[in-house]
Symmetry: C2
Subunit: 503 residues, 2 copies
């Protein structure tokens, strides 16, 4: 252990990590390296900080302290502090163990999660962890232990209810099943505290869509009140910290464009556990354009969910569903909200309605002594009778909203009709990426009214001039960008026998 006294310089920059910057001579003198740790000692508090040697511009007698850490320790410029070399968090050894493809114990996983939560691990170390979990994967027991560790550090919502139902979808295309399913289930008297995310790269997240009708941001005690009052809700999960390391992990997963299965499962199920969910349907869309590409992987994943559910005391049914085709015809918050309401209003019964009823039926059969076919009938009846719609209006009102009818939803001011400008053909596929991009270019998910409505159906034969889509936006400029984009990107695939004729 070596120590030295240095003069504080508060750096006008903040991170979640406790980072300090030392002159290279001091680093040499202390015999430390980039990302080693030092103990920063003040009169009141000692704190382990991460040495960032890639960050420079510091005098030899100075320690640069990021503002967040300076504030936490109440450090002022020019104050003298002692720093001591100190050992690395043990969790770094455990990350190394996973890199070396060894199985981690419950305690080791707990240590990694806790140190991540306390910002003791740098992004470099976490990146290695996430990469190694992706490549070497977690076995069933490790995944359960990760889930437990997540539950331990997170917020919990205790509804004081013996039975709590829920549904979770993994990476579908579009369509707000939750906004139909939640009213169906709660109209039957069950509690279903549906939490939902916002979009990151999709056209809209369920929270973005629900927000068209009502506020979605509530704290834990408000959510408890809501469930007590109306049984079902659709709220944004971002306000409470069921799995506080999620954001840290997700940030790195996005940067690396990987989503390790073990972390994903643990994250989903820990949140359900923390909310006291007892019966859960997991919807796993399978399709070439969604997260799970084939049945084999879907089945493997489904079995894991069920197995881990057992160990957590959650009765799970995992369902492989059609992820080849969009669920419903709408992309974008307002259009998707309108579609969900229209289904509840009984205006039509589309594939999205069908999916909501199938999933509701499965969920009902989990908690009742009838089968899922009977459950489906019961669910559908809740729509037909208008009871689900009545319940949804109660939910919207309870959440503080005042949009109760599909016709009251405001779409983007400007509309662009996209027509077939080539010879057309029989539609065999939608290019989901293109549809999503068009919706985002039009302004979604931030502009709620921006969206894309699919006019054609799969299998339909279209010819030149037929309307394919309607695109809504509040900006004519954005619609002209959409036009440009569609010049170079195809949104549909046709069943063309002839691909090219060369003469």
């Amino acid at each position: 252990m070596k120590s030295i006294e240095l003069k504080v310089k508060v750096l006008d920059i903040s991170t979640e990590f406790p980072i300090v910057v030392l002159h290279e001579d001091i680093i040499k003198k202390l015999e430390i390296e980039h990302l080693n740790r030092v103990l920063l000692k003040t009169s009141s508090l000692d704190k382990v900080c991460i040495v960032d040697s890639s960050v420079s511009y510091i005098e030899p007698d100075v320690i640069g302290v990021f503002k967040n850490t300076a504030d936490e320790l109440n450090l002022k410029d020019s104050e003298i502090v002692e720093i001591q070399t100190t050992s690395l968090p043990k969790s770094i050894d455990y990350i190394n163990k996973k890199v070396k493809n060894k199985t981690l114990t419950k305690e080791e996983i707990k240590s990694i999660v806790e140190d991540t939560n306390n910002n003791l691990l740098s992004e470099t170390e976490l990146s290695s962890f996430i990469t190694s979990v992706y490549i070497n994967s977690l076995n069933l027991e490790e995944t359960i232990n990760l889930c437990d560790a997540f539950v331990n550090i997170g917020d919990k919502i205790n509804f004081d209810e013996p039975v709590i139902l829920d549904k979770h979808s993994i990476g579908g295309i579009n369509g707000r099943v939750s906004m139909i399913l939640s009213p169906i289930i709660s109209s039957l008297g069950y509690k279903i505290p549906k939490t939902a995310s916002r979009s990151i790269t999709s056209a809209a997240g369920t929270a973005d869509v629900m927000e068209v009708l009502a506020p979605v941001t509530f704290n834990i005690s408000e959510i408890k009140e809501l469930i007590k009052k109306v049984h079902g809700i659709v709220v944004w999960e971002g306000k409470f910290d069921l799995c506080p390391v999620d954001n840290t992990f997700i940030k790195i997963e996005h940067a690396l464009n990987i989503n390790p299965e073990g972390i994903m499962i643990a994250s989903i199920l820990s949140k359900k556990k923390s909310m006291g969910v007892t019966h859960l349907v997991i919807d796993i869309p399978v399709g070439r354009q969604v997260k799970v590409k084939d049945k084999e992987n879907g089945e493997r994943l489904a079995k894991k969910f069920v197995e881990i559910g057992k160990s957590l005391g959650i009765k799970i049914k995992a369902l492989l569903t059609d992820g080849e085709n969009p669920s419903g015809d709408a992309f974008g918050p307002a259009l998707e909200a309108k579609e969900a309401l229209e289904i509840l209003e009984g205006k039509y019964f589309s594939n999205l309605a069908e999916k909501a009823c199938v999933l509701s039926g499965e969920l009902l059969s989990l908690v009742n002594d009838y089968d899922s076919k009977k459950g489906y009938e019961i669910a559908k009846e809740q729509i037909t009778s208008g009871k689900a719609l009545e319940k949804f209006k109660e939910i919207i009102k309870a959440q503080g909203g005042n949009t109760f009818k599909s016709e009251d939803i405001t779409l983007g001011k400007y509309k662009l009709e996209i027509t077939e400008n080539k010879e057309g053909g029989k539609i065999i596929d939608f290019n989901v990426h293109t549809l999503t991009e068009v919706t985002r270019i039009a302004g979604a998910p931030y502009d709620k009214g921006a969206g894309l409505k699919v006019i054609v159906k799969l299998g339909q034969v279209v010819k030149t001039g037929d309307t394919l889509f309607e695109v809504y936006s509040d900006s004519e400029d954005k619609l002209s960008f959409v036009k440009d984009y569609l010049e170079n990107h195809s949104a549909l695939s046709y069943d063309d026998v002839l691909i090219e004729a060369v003469e």
Copy 2:
């Protein structure tokens, strides 16, 4: 592509990476994420910068620019700049490809190396790359391509010589073979531009040891002069940039405590290639306490070196050597320099001298039509005849040193004799980690005179009170720390039949 105008705030902090900090509202508005890239446009220059969303304390209309980037772009506080969203470097896709255990093409590897060299990749991304290379490894062709990419971006030293010899050791314990071998080889008229590293965690690096006798820091043209004049040198490799991404990779490798084989091989061989080496001996110590733990791994590694050498046009002989026992009796710069000189002075012929002659013999046989046994005889004769010593004095003088005799080397002012304080026994093992730590506690490698001299031999029977080691230091305090440390750490293992008697 989205763009926005923001006011520059130069942050008083620097990194090698072009990092900018944006307010979360701007990040949302631009639809970007942590570690996405933006194009920072100034009147003169556009630069791709990395968005660090984990770093905050920025007003919505401001872009925080790290000082290094602000200086490069000549940006001043309050200046208005435009930023545009821009795509990620393609190399991030290639890193993702390696994470997914796919083979990288020559072009893809080149792209990763070049982007690393241009600081276009964040540490998070590089950490994932290094972890994935460690786990999924590089095949022979990928390693060759990595080596080529390293050579392409690095400095080159052209000696205008058809034959250049060299030797490289991988992770031994101690003992400066190079300081004996380099004079032997060059005294026979061969050119051997030995570059060496400084210690990071060991008791001393060869550059630290050579520096006891002469300066070791030279630029490329000085090295060319030296080789022309005296044929052999022992210099620090840190002054020139044969493999400029090495430091970036090594920093992350140390933080993660992994050393992916493919990167290690490519780094070593690219530097040799860049120096025009034609004949090379690779020394691979094998032992429980060194990098390569067993013969099997040693052989696999050896074959890789030879194979890749062929593709680079370097004739390589890779040798598995005894890494179980220390080479020589000395730990620490001055003691190790003294030992090398004493061997050249003919004072004794230890296992270190033997190793130097064996490696010299192998190297000589590579470039001559005699075998390594004959080479060994020739090498040994250069020591016996005093020719290697004369050559070494020439080298020391040419490098600007003035310490030519072993007795002129200054050791630490204070000496501590470590004696056997238990019952002793037959010595069967040295604990290298303890010996290294003691040497470092005494002040090495920064205090040149600090060191540890092993007095006992392997197999020797010692009893209570016998002297085991001498420790030198310039500080009595440090010696008392050494004493404390040795109370709790054993430096020797004994052949004890009886481990414990319980009554």
